[in-house]
């Protein structure tokens, strides 16, 4: 049996109500809110969040591959998946790949992973989809798009949801596109895009799949349909005969917005969180055609190690401080030119210290057992030289020992909260506090580590492990 052996989810902390956008542009707005990545988040950092969530309680050495699906890569040339793999501290002798460009990329990645597992060439393959698309200001997409990520581990041991069948249709249908060098999306009249494109292509693909399987739609406990908007979502469900009550999986459009390649995988994770053994799930993922999957939940779902998934991340949220803050987060408004020289990042240093910077390794002295970050060749405490082991600190928690809040720092979101954190299992960590409310930052506050972008010196995304107030209290 091959299928999903684990899942993880991620929704950024900040939400912006559609009313907020509508008020700013003096236009009517739909209901609900959208998830907005923090200034230091992007598709890679959110991908790391979902992967780390999926890997809770698992042995990271058992991961044999990672496929990263996104339409908002942080590099156009240079792999994004390798960054996710490094931050997640995966082995280096694995396959990594970016699968992008299409809203259907997530299921394409699932297909590739599934085939590898089926063929026996890889045992456990992670598929992560993450999206942080930047729509043009005052566009329809600005109302609908949201940010988020989800991850699935595919394998053949302890499968929690067997993938029974996979059907794929390709279609050269232009609806939303963006060429290199173009910052924002282009699209066509929505009546054409939805009626001739989405509704027909997705419907026909799903119908053909069901006919092929010889299984009526009523056999499925949940139906996950990727949809550009609520109305189209309901209409596709109606045409497929899906009961909009219990059977149709919530689109997340009201709570997250459309998270691009990650959207339907986030819905699937939400469906799996509520699933019972024996449930069948239909998953249709639209974009340049349509992929349709049939899944069957197994008894092993009861043994799954708890993760934060979609539920806890959806419940944990904070309104963004206004539309203008959103513009700043996404770099949509230009600031004053910096009178200081540009920052330089030495790639040689990044390479030499890759384990420490990307994988968050500190050292533990073998003599006195003290944990130290950054890695120290000569122990801070007992001065023993070159007798230490590396320990990953990225999953540790700690308490703020002291902090400051710099109102003048070079950061998109001021104040820049500097923290000295004493880790609960030893070691002291000096970092920036993100996803914080400046009003409530305090000595003794409990924090956890999170992979974020620090700056873009030397024209690269300089990532680091920051700290944040513990996002979900109690467990996972």
């Amino acid at each position: 049996m091959v299928g999903i052996v684990g899942y993880g989810g991620y929704v950024p902390l900040h939400r912006m109500s559609r009313k907020e956008i509508g008020t700013f542009w003096r236009k009517s707005a739909g209901g609900g809110e959208k998830a907005v990545a923090n200034a230091d988040e992007d598709s890679v950092t959110m991908g790391v969040e979902a992967v780390v969530d999926c890997l809770r309680g698992r042995d990271r050495r058992e991961v044999d591959g990672l496929y990263f699906a996104t339409a908002s890569p942080v590099y156009l040339e240079k792999q994004n998946a390798s960054i996710v793999a490094a931050a997640a501290d995966l082995r280096e002798d694995i396959i990594t790949a970016d699968i992008g460009n299409s809203m259907r990329a997530a299921t394409t990645a699932v297909s590739a992973a599934l085939d590898a597992v089926k063929a026996g060439s890889r045992k456990n393959v992670l598929v992560v989809a993450a999206e942080c698309r930047v729509p043009g200001v005052n566009s329809d997409l600005e109302m609908s798009l949201g940010d988020g990520a989800a991850a699935l581990m595919l394998g053949s041991q302890n499968v929690v949801a067997e993938i029974e069948a996979f059907h794929s249709v390709t279609s050269e249908f232009l609806d939303v596109w963006r060429r290199p060098r173009e910052r924002f999306h282009r699209t066509w009249e929505d009546r054409f895009v939805v009626n001739e494109g989405y509704l027909k292509i997705a419907h026909d693909a799903a119908s053909a799949f069901l006919a092929q399987m010889g299984r009526p739609i009523k056999d499925f406990a949940k139906v996950v349909l990727n949809a550009p908007d609520q109305r189209s979502h309901a209409e596709l469900a109606r045409r497929l005969g899906v009961d909009p009550g219990g059977q149709l999986q919530d689109s997340l459009l009201n709570a997250v917005g459309h998270a691009g390649t990650a959207a339907s995988m986030m819905m699937l994770v939400a469906a799996l969180e509520e699933a019972a053994p024996g449930d069948r799930i239909l998953w249709a993922n639209y974009g340049d055609g349509c992929d349709v999957l049939a899944l069957k939940v197994t008894d092993d779902i009861k043994n799954l190690i708890p993760v934060r998934g979609m539920k806890a991340h959806l419940a944990s949220k904070r309104p963004i401080e206004g539309y203008s803050k959103y513009l700043r987060f996404r770099n949509l408004i230009e600031g004053e030119a910096d009178r200081r020289p540009p920052d330089l990042s030495a790639l040689t240093v990044l390479w030499r210290e890759r384990d420490q910077i990307m994988r968050c390794y500190g050292s533990r002295c073998r003599k006195c057992e003290q944990i130290q970050y950054p890695v120290q060749r000569i122990c801070i405490y007992c001065q023993t030289q070159d007798d230490y082991e590396l320990v990953r600190l990225s999953e540790r928690t700690g308490k703020i020992f002291t902090f400051s809040m710099d109102e003048r720092a070079m950061a998109l979101d001021l104040p820049n909260v500097l923290t000295i954190v004493d880790l609960d299992e030893g070691g002291r960590y000096y970092s920036v506090l993100t996803d914080r409310d400046p009003q409530t930052v305090d000595v003794g506050q409990a924090v956890e580590l999170t992979f974020r972008k620090l700056h873009e010196g030397s024209g690269i995304n300089n990532y680091t492990w920051k700290v944040r107030p513990i996002r979900v209290q109690g467990g996972s």
């Binding site: 009178r339 200081r340 020289p341 920052d343 330089l344 990042s345 030495a346 790639l347 240093v349 990044l350 910077i357 003290q370 130290q372 970050y373 950054p374 120290q376 801070i380 405490y381 020992f401 002291t402 902090f403 400051s404 809040m405 710099d406 109102e407 003048r408 720092a409 070079m410 950061a411 104040p415 820049n416 500097l418 000295i420 004493d422 030893g426 070691g427 002291r428 000096y430 920036v432 000595v443 003794g444 620090l454 700056h455 010196g457 030397s458 690269i460 300089n462 990532y463 680091t464």
Partner: protein, 394 residues
């Protein structure tokens, strides 16, 4: 190991006017301070056999020899960030004590106000190229870590903490307003200080020192030669430097409410000077107060205040111009200003003038003083190099 006590005499000192010296460059500042020092010592530039120059932002001894047209004598550049100048003096003192030279010039200077920004110019060098460490972090945010921790450790509310350190700034501005060469010659109220724009919580604008152009200079010789220059020369009683391993941000044992390097350097300097009870034996202290919290912790780490005793001392006003141990009578880095590479020598200049009875304003002249201490440090909490210079009459 031999004590340096009373081996070296300072026979001349100079200090440029400190401030936003838009119309002067670093050469003008060097010439201004050096000229005063030479005249004070009654010598000419050709009498100088070797020189040490402290600057954090300029390179090589040529930055001194060029403006002064020094004729091929050795010039050593010393750099210890904000603790640069005191260490330049220390190195010159060793060379003269070793009789390698008889007369040496020490100059510390910095020209900061050409940077186009309100704060200090960006540092350069290899550490700055690190992709992550220290990015977007500046001195206010680093020192503020100590303030937050001090408040937490001693149970001060945010409001109480702000008002406590704010009183240090009020005192420094009062002193600076009475010092003709000070950068900021204006008194401020506690309300102004606590309500000033925030720089890095809990440090506001008036918790931070001036970003200043300036230079200071000294002429030194061995004590036995000093009488040839003047009768009221001043001698070095204790001189010490401590450079910490710099691991406070990684070491769980560091508490951010004391300066280890200051304690180590002070212990060495007190021993050399024969000072048993610094609070009783010192009559004036110039300490490194780049921020109000820095002065508070320096006073506790120098042992002139008890640990946690700042509140009682400040409320009793013991550190004021008329208190029993004035701290930063000059106005300090806060109000006199802080040209990075000059501050250490500028502190020594204040003690030198006080010991000679030549403070420029009668109100600020202390009576009957034997010992003064200058405390100068570079770096930031958890990562300091600290210089202590104790001066006295021979």
């Amino acid at each position: 190991m031999e004590s340096m006590k009373d081996k070296i005499a300072i026979v001349g000192m100079g200090c440029s006017a400190f401030g936003e010296r838009w119309d002067t460059d670093k050469d003008d500042l060097i010439i201004e301070a050096t000229r005063e020092a030479l005249e004070d010592a009654g010598i000419e530039l050709k009498d100088v056999q070797a020189a040490w120059v402290g600057t954090s932002y300029n390179e090589t001894g040529v930055s001194l020899s060029a403006p002064l047209k020094l004729q091929y004598i050795p010039v050593t550049r010393v750099e210890n960030a904000c603790g640069t100048a005191a260490d330049a003096l220390r190195n010159a003192a060793f060379a003269v004590a070793a009789k390698a030279y008889d007369v040496a010039l020490v100059v510390g200077y910095e020209k900061l106000k050409d940077a186009g920004v309100g704060g200090t110019p960006a540092n350069k060098g290899v550490e700055k190229w690190h992709p992550t460490y220290g990015y977007g972090v500046a001195a206010p945010g680093r020192y503020a870590l100590a303030a937050t921790r001090y408040f937490a450790r001693y149970g001060l509310t945010r409001e109480e903490g702000k008002r406590l350190i704010g009183q240090i700034s009020v005192k420094s501005h009062y002193n600076g307003a009475r010092n003709p060469k000070a950068h900021m010659q204006r008194e401020v109220t506690l309300e102004q200080v606590v309500n000033a724009p925030m720089i890095a919580w809990p440090l506001g604008l008036y918790d931070a020192c001036g970003v200043t152009d300036g230079a200071a200079a000294a002429i030194i010789c061995r004590k036995e030669d000093a009488k040839r220059f003047r009768s009221d020369y001043i001698t070095l009683k204790g001189i010490a430097v401590s450079c910490g391993p710099g691991m406070g941000k990684s070491n769980v044992n560091y508490d951010f409410t004391h300066w280890d390097e200051t304690e180590r350097a002070a212990a060495q300097a007190y021993e050399m000077a024969g000072i048993k009870n610094p609070r009783k034996e010192l009559q004036v202290v110039e300490c490194h107060d780049c921020f109000s919290i820095a002065e508070l912790i320096a006073c506790e780490s120098l042992g002139i205040w008890e640990k946690g005793g700042a509140k009682a001392e400040i409320e009793a006003g013991t550190n004021t111009m008329h208190g029993d141990l004035p701290v930063n009578l000059s106005g300090g880095l806060k109000s006199f200003g802080h040209p990075i590479g000059a501050s250490g020598l500028r502190e020594v200049y204040e003690i030198y003038k006080q010991l000679q009875g030549k403070a420029q304003h009668p109100e600020r002249q202390l009576k009957n003083i034997d010992f003064g201490l200058a405390h100068n440090q570079g770096g930031h909490p958890g990562r300091f190099v600290c210089s202590i210079t104790i001066l006295g009459r021979p």
